[in-house]
Amino acid sequence: MSNDHDHHEQSIWEKYIFSVDHKVIGMQYLFTGMLMALIGGFFVYVFRMQLAFPGAEVLGWGIVNSAEYNALVTNHGSIMIFWVAMPVLIAAFGNFLIPLMIGCDDMVFPRLNRLSYQIFLISALVLIASFFVQGGGFGGAWTAYPPLSANANYNLTPWGSILWLVAVALEFVAFLMGGINFITTLMNSRAPGMKMYDIPIVVWMIVLASILFMASVGPLIAGAIMLLLDQTMSIGFFDPAKGGDPVLWQHLFWFFGHPEVYVVLLPAMGIVAEVMTTFSRKKLFAYKTVLNTAIATGILSFFVWAHHQFVSGIDPRMANIFTVTTVIISIPIAEMCFVYIATLYKGSIEFTTAMLFALAFLVEFLLGGVTGIFLGASGSDIYFHDTYFVLAHFHYTFVPIAIISVFAAIYYWYPKMFGRLMNETLGKIHFWGTVISFNIIFIPLFILGASGQHRRIYNYENFPQLATDGMQNLRVVATMGLIAMLVSQIPFLYNFVTSWKKGKIAGNNPWKANTLEWVATSPAPHGNFKELPTCYRGPYEYGKMEGRKDDYWPQNEES
């Protein structure tokens, strides 16, 4: 059936600002996420300079006092998770890819899709506003443990904490609405002939992530309302003097917190699966195993949350249950990594920038996953909890998830978004600059953490055992690594902007991939396909197949 979709020429206002096209909304999320990443990156530059050169004036900020330091640390964490990782990984690539990859013309609810971006934009503006209010930005860590977050005379940021909480709550609402849109679209609007196991893994992962998010965020939304009342009307849900219990907030937060990290992990694994299979020309090793381990990880992720609270006041007997479930959850993830590595076996790997980033994801994420076992085992967590070892662990998982796999996705789908290829040499410079400096930052932080340096401390000169020259040099090395990593983003931004007009024309299928988005023209028009495609086979038919000249077999081709 022909697709009589676009009928009248839309004004700029309709086409870009108030668009209901899933691709434009995807780009809006992507640009907002990248802008917030710059802000988060600036924050980490400022407070790492303070750590490397305590008390010195930081270029571009001035003297960093302890309240500012806490606000910078808190909002670096909040921005990078809620306003960079989730919007870019789930909303930007979810919106852009899901309709294209399952062969339909748009999300099922275009206006709900636009509304969820608008609420997300408001949440980002509310968060930015929280830095300019009296008392400055909220400084009580992104976990916002009460009574510090609930009581203004404890956190000394009366407006900052309220605005931070409202921003996070709005962001949850935006992603609940977005999630319902994604899940319903995948369930109902698949191309004819696309059976469950023909759906590309990245689409599966993004929708699984939306389901995990929806099922885990509920209690925290109730918790956010309770905390908001504590902050504004000093009600006392979490104030022990009034009968409340601060540990209740910790449970509400981490019941959401841990499924949340799998919510951002799964789309990243999906992106790596797409990029890796295309550039190694290899069928994904055991598609069903990847899918089943993803679902198993998702379900298990609801049973592990209290490993964040081993020493934070929960009953020691509970800790034993959670250490068992936490160490067990490393099984499905290890299985998924083994299967990804097995996909490369007997492949023919072409080292494009996207492929380099996908491989770097696997290399780096393995170290992130392995160091997590030190923290999941309750015994060793007594020592490592809230040290820089924890910080290095979750950066070895979050940076590959939110930065490295996102770069792989941008280099891979840029031709489909803008119709032109990004420059490969600039891409390689950007790749080596980012990955090498990333390791220079966080290997020293592992060592610092193992020698007892705790997180969020503004100035280590107060602790003689931490103020040794050796440790201070490690902090300087880490800060130099960070500056190198930020500087090496310049070739990427330059490449991103100039390739818009000056990149090589890409054509529909530059990478010779199978999935349906490469059937549409690049950039795809409103309504995506002239003829909505039918799906005949799985998305990963790569490799030498008898009777076929090419080493790939697009999903929509009949023969």
Partner: protein, 192 residues
Amino acid sequence: MGIVQPIATRRSATGILTGKLAVWWLIGSEIVIFGGLLASYIMMRLLHGDWANEAEHTNVVIGATNTFVLLTSSLFVVLSHYWAEKGDRDKAFKYMWLTILGGALFLCFKSYEWTHEIAQGYTISKSLFWSFYYVAAGIHGLHIIGGVVIMAFISFDLKKGKNMHRAELIGLYWHFVDIVWIFLFPLLYIAK
């Protein structure tokens, strides 16, 4: 700017209408929100035995009548859905407005109840029981208001015989709000 409904919305690989599937997922997300709040309330309630003294002052009579009102309005919305399914515009419209009346009645009783309780000094910050009472019943009340407003819009469509399937969608939402109240009523009013 007329938005053309995408073809995606008309597809139904699962056999469930897209709109209804979305409402089921909305109800799923609401279960976890109310569930988290009520779980926290139950735990605190088991800790603080003395809340039973506070709960003495809740008005069980109004709570019971509100339960009756919501049960009846659930009946009306399912009848409205029944007649909408049969294509009878007027009956669907009539029962939808009876449901809206039920919702409005519920809100009137609640506001009467709350004004008296606050007048007697049982405000939200009197004690933690009352905080949970006002937060839980308050969020539920907001959901009733949302439901009533949406039902009004849908009833005008029903009158014109457009989007008749939406009667069932708002009916599902309304039944869910009724079920939440079915659990709220014993937890807040009865547990003495």
